[in-house]
Amino acid sequence: MRGAEIFVQALKDEGVEYLFGYPGGAVLHIYDELFKQDAVRHILVRHEQGATHAADGYARATGKPGVVLVTSGPGATNCVTGIATAYMDSIPMVVFTGQVPTHLIGNDAFQEVDAIGITRPCVKHNFLVEKVEDLAPTIRKAFYIAASGRPGPVVVDIPKDVTADSCEYYYPKNIEIRSYKPTGKGHPGQIRKAIQLIFEAKKPMVYTGGGIVLDDAAEDLKEFGHLTGFPITNTLMGLGGYPATDPQFVGMLGMHGTYEANMAMHHCDVLIAIGARFDDRVTGNLEKFCPYAKIVHVDVDPSSISKNVPVDVPIVGSAREVLREMNQLLREADFKPRDKSNPWWRQITEWSALDCLRYDRTTDVIKPQYVIEELYAVTRGDAYITSDVGQHQMWAAQYYKFDKPRRWINSGGLGTMGFGLPAALGVQLGFPDSIVCCVTGEASLVMCIQELSTALQYNLPVKIINLNNRYMGMVRQWQEFFYDRRYSHSYMDALPDFVKLAEAFGHVGMRIEHARDVQPALKEATGMKDRLVMMDFLTDQTENVYPMIASGKGHHEMHLAPGNPQPQPSDRELA
């Protein structure tokens, strides 16, 4: 079998549904084979970055690895942002890059780039396939590495002559890599120590991240929540890992987290962190982080444990396995769940009563928060929401109450503007009958706007919620707070007419200028089941994201929106 046939057959054996790609010289043999079959559907994007984000969105929503095929040189370099995005958020992805023929490697050949060298710092692993015999086993290894343990992107660089050479086809079902043995079950002794702390805790707090979503552990976390009665917060990446409408959920934590979540973090005496990595946007000032807490940390990646914050009870293992183990022990021990009448919960309820996400609902200027709340209502909380990066991302995270995992798709770690639209296309392919919305801003949206063509070609009826404030809102917000309102290059001048732009690409465009029109427009757009609708909401230009922890501050030092009472209780009285 020729290398190109082996490639396609291996993808079939791997059960790949969609291949996001863009052809070019080095991968022409493969494209010729793709032409002859229809088991693996190729999605032609308009820019390789779009291919990686679309595959990434597909992976986040379905849990299956996203698969990308691009050519050598610029094809590979255009993928780097998307690969780094997936790497930072631990998303399983396999990216195949074409390479010049082996005899030309190192000769500065046409469209040659050291793809392995360029991607090395932002992949879980990468491979150069040196001969055709290695092709099938390498593809199997790539999928295995990408999807197991702490997932991540894997790049496979395939020289053109390898796709022309022939050998016998054999696709190994199971693969052994002596240097790679991901951990599953947690250490029983450590788990018992964690249970001990759960029993002793007077002010417990559960903080979970993307690991719950990636490991499909949401059901187990829900059970853990109900067995313990503990308050639970999610990171930006972990939203949907615990139902947002559950009374024990205290909202997102961190820089733009809720007052109650951050205050509870600051004052807790036992912190149970699961599948989260103590990112700087979550912890704030490390010196002031959870000063009174004993910390349990469950993570599949040992290097995440005690990286930023020293941990008292480290547990290396998969979130799902460890949660099941802990749930079992809690049931056996007949743990009595904490009810809302105990002093800790009463304190948290008091913090919640501040209603830190309040905003002005009386005006007819469109408040971006209002758009998200209406979107939540109109979609009954059941949509897949992708986002770009900036203020709109925070508002979507704060105001759309995700009850299920894999519904909130955003670039949390790398913060990649331009991610939302192509990611939404990937999600829509995975869930053709669901409502998929891309919440974005006018600055992020244009970064991958070319993918509107892809959406038309494959009839992907994504709803684009463009919160258009004519600013790079988050940049403007920081300039307002920390640079004396010198709005250096954060104003979006010379914007396109987004309605006409959508129409030019063959889609439906809408402009919404008043708060009273928001809900009807959303209903109309979501009613159009087979059309992509670009909704251009002209929003309040100077709205800021609150609450906010400025850098260098601790969880208990939040800024609330102006006009809110700011009852910052002193540290001492709560300690």
Binding site: I116, G117, R120, P121, K124, H125, L128, I145, I177, R178, S179, Y180, D301, P302, S303, I305, S306, K307, P310
Partner: protein, 194 residues
């Protein structure tokens, strides 16, 4: 604190740059690094000397273990160990200086392996500290060139690093192994310091 890490990694093209890249990307220190294939040609052994607080070294070990090409590693500082480094020094050896250099080389148990009218090449093996001490002892103006291999290290006693066996000493060591370990730990004036 200075740590010596012994690392077994797949003998692939690019495995070395994964390790080196990790250190530069995460701003870890490398004092020295040596690598060569082992008796099993599919495996390379790297000895890497780094320094940092316990937390940093713990993070370095975890990050190295995370690399797919790393099969196994140990921190030699976790137990008694021997380190060796080879150094070649080209020194000016003229007139009266010739005798003095020769005497120093003898004191340090080095060897002169090349002689010309005006120069010696000195070969010296030992722990890095010993090599440092030699360089300090020689008049700096005489030194023309120094080349060092970087540290190679190995654990003493039954603790061994190879692909087939567990990294730590066996859980229930044999009597012989126990006494060997005790001997290794108890050696008051270990030969490797010389």
């Amino acid at each position: 604190m200075r740590h010596i890490l012994s690392i077994l990694l797949e003998n692939h093209a690019g495995a070395l740059s994964r390790v080196a890249g990790l250190f530069s990307a995460r701003a870890f220190n490398i004092e020295s690094l040596t690598v060569a294939p082992t008796e099993d040609p599919t495996v390379s052994r790297m000895t890497l000397v780094t320094s940092g607080s316990d937390e940093i070294v713990e993070q370095i070990v975890k990050q190295l273990n995370k690399l797919i090409d790393v099969i196994k590693l140990i921190d030699l500082n976790d137990g008694p160990h021997i380190e060796r480094e080879l150094m070649l020094v080209k020194v000016l050896a003229r007139d009266g200086g010739r005798e003095e250099v020769k005497r120093l080389v003898d004191i340090f148990r080095g060897r002169i392996i090349d002689v010309t009218d005006t120069t010696y090449i000195v070969e010296l093996t030992g722990a890095s500290r010993k090599l440092d001490a030699f360089i300090e002892a020689v008049n700096g103006e005489l030194i023309m060139e120094v080349v060092r291999t970087g540290v190679s290290g190995i654990a003493r006693g039954t603790r061994a690093l190879n692909v087939g066996t567990p990294t730590a000493a066996p859980r229930t060591p044999t009597k012989a192994a126990k006494s060997a370990d005790r001997a290794a730990r108890g050696a008051a004036n270990p030969a490797h310091l010389l």
